[in-house]
Amino acid sequence: MRSGGNMIRGEGLTRIYRMGASEVRALDGVDLNIPRGEFVGVMGASGSGKSTLLHMIGLLDRPTAGVLEIDGVDVTRLSERQRTLFRLNRLGYVFQDYALVPELTAQENVYLPSKVRGMSVRECNLVCQDILERVGLKDRMNFLPGEMSGGEQQRVAIARALVNRPALLLADEPCANLDTKNSVLILDLIRSLNRELGQTVMMVSHEEWHRQYFDRVIFLRDGKIVDEVGAGSAP
């Protein structure tokens, strides 16, 4: 059932929101193919449909019409429970505002999805320490989110997203709340994970200078792909 070398295959992806009598076409027949191991950027103005596309691929929303295959699975046919398991096992999601559980330390935030996946405590601890070390937070593992900077919190969020070794990492404007220095740290980290682990990454951004990190950039306007630009130059 795998669709060749593509991690994501979308055909005619449409999302219509109804607001009273009127309807808004947030996505309007988007076709896309994202190969495995690619670092794809999604850019466009506000309201262009970037986040809607990412939500759809992250199984946080359902398309009104169209076909969506991720890692060879037609995700539009999955039940709610199957979608939850799919998110847990095959997707990693990084939110704009980190979205960490404030009562859990960095290690515990990362530990939670791995434990839910059924790993033993020892396994969980090992993978958590490994991933936190990889994102440079080995010394901050026992800190609560409130005790960490925005950049550190976002790195915890990335570690949490990657702890179950997902097929696809989705990042929704992960640098939106960060200064340039921390943004560079995060983008470098994602880029290195993409390069070293062959991690497929899809990232929404509205910052022009982020383009240099992407293998390919998809431009959206009014819910449609209006342009695709290949290989940005990595720093």
């Binding site: 939500h55 992250g58 946080l60 929303d61 429970r81 939850t84 398991l85 799919f86 998110r87 847990l88 096992n89 997707l91 999601y93 939110f95 979205a99 559980v101 404030p102 009562e103 859990l104 515990e108 939670l112 999805p113 434990k115 839910v116 996946r117 059924g118 609560l144 949490r160 997203a161 179950n164």
Partner: protein
């Protein structure tokens, strides 16, 4: 333990340990108050019922009442029967009485109360009328021509203010005239005024049974023998024991005699109790539900995020149920301690009811019922809001 429950417990433990301590404390205290509310009033009502029961035994009937055989008006050889009953295991003592209606006159005011002939010494072993002497003295075994008058019957100097027919303010040392059903009239000196808070004492006249015997022209008249047993509550068993020991007279338990009165008291309090418990439970449901609902709504976004990263909604629901159970357990324990403190206070400063001081009667069943109710309510209050919140679209939850 199952994997999912383990993770739910892991999450719950940390959410509780690192969550807002003030909110947690407040929630636990609210639960504690609800628990006290559920237990306290019913235990006071139970205490009032216990008081009524005890007073019925102490001042009206004893534990068992022996009456003449069917078709007879007197107990045959009552002194012998008293000796016999006193020898039965489980009996503390028994006392013969002769009760009759009579006309009592004082300063021209007359009324027709119950006049009861008692053996003062024996009576003290069975009843507590001796303890209800408000003024004057109790009858001594050698007294003749002396009477004890109930406070209500004695009345006040202003008889118009008395709610029932009275003697218009008779006091100790005064003389009353009693005319018995056989037409015999005799003057008695009032030796004591009784106040027991029970009409069977406060509306009656007590004489020595020897005086009654002289009036009736009988050696040993009795139409009732009151029996005190070692244990209250096993009255029906003791009734059978007396019958097994050959007591052929009619035997009643104090519950039989006061059935109608007791049923109406217990019935009325029962209704109050049910209403109070129901209201307390509704308050408990609403309070616990609101507190946990607010907590869950506050964490709505977090729930959305947990679901977004692949945490199943059943795990999230279990986590909130566990939190609710934890709060309930702490609340119940805190409520228990609060209740103990209130009981300690009431032991020193009892609530005074018309029948006397009332101690709350804590029943295991009531406590178990209250604890169980709180747990059921807490599980529902943890389950319903988290179920509702985890049902909504993930994006809606994340956006708050």
């Amino acid at each position: 333990m199952l994997e999912e429950e383990q993770v739910a417990l892991y999450l719950t433990a940390r959410l509780i340990a690192r969550g807002n301590k003030g909110t947690l404390f407040l929630t636990i205290m609210i639960l504690a108050m609800v628990f006290v509310n559920l237990v306290f009033l019913p235990s006071i009502i139970a205490g009032v019922v216990v008081l009524f029961n005890q007073r019925t035994i102490d001042y009206s009937y004893g534990n068992l009442i022996v009456e003449p055989r069917p078709g007879e008006l007197r107990i045959e050889n009552p002194s012998q029967l008293v000796q016999k009953i006193n020898g039965i295991p489980g009996v503390v003592a028994s006392t013969p009485r002769y009760s009759t209606g009579a006309t009592v006159v004082f300063r021209g005011r007359s009324t027709s109360p119950l006049v009861i002939g008692i053996d003062p010494a024996r009576e003290q072993e069975v009843m507590r009328i001796f303890a209800s002497v408000q003024s004057g003295d109790y009858l001594s075994p050698s007294d003749t021509g002396e009477a004890l008058v109930g406070e209500t019957l004695a009345g006040s100097d202003d008889p118009e203010g008395d709610s029932t027919p009275t003697l218009g303010g008779v006091v100790v040392g005064k003389t009353i005239e009693i005319t018995f059903p056989n037409g015999f009239t005799q003057a008695f000196r009032v030796k004591g005024i009784l106040k027991a808070g029970t009409s069977s004492v406060d509306n009656a006249v007590f004489l020595h049974r020897r005086d009654m015997a002289r009036v009736l022209g009988e050696a040993d008249p009795a139409n009732t023998i009151l029996v005190r047993t070692e244990t209250t509550g096993k009255d029906a068993e003791m009734r059978l024991t007396l019958m097994q020991y050959g007591v052929q007279e009619k035997i009643w338990t104090w519950q039989d005699k006061s059935a109608e009165f007791l049923a109406s008291i217990v019935g009325s309090f029962g209704i109050i109790n049910v209403i109070s418990t129901l209201v307390s439970l509704i308050i408990a449901v609403v309070v616990i539900f609101i507190v946990i609902f607010i907590s869950i709504v506050y964490r709505r976004r977090q729930i959305g995020i947990l679901r977004a990263i692949g945490i199943d909604r059943s795990l999230i629901i279990k986590s909130y149920i566990l939190q609710a159970l934890f709060i309930c357990t702490c609340g119940t324990l805190a409520g228990g301690m609060l209740l103990i403190a209130v009981l300690q206070y009431l032991a020193v400063n009892p609530l005074i009811f018309p029948g006397g001081p009332v101690q709350p009667a804590l029943e295991t069943g009531l406590i178990a019922q209250s604890v169980l109710s709180l747990y059921i309510v807490s599980v529902l209050a943890g389950y319903l809001p988290s179920w509702l919140t985890t049902r909504e679209e993930i994006l809606d939850a994340i956006r708050g």
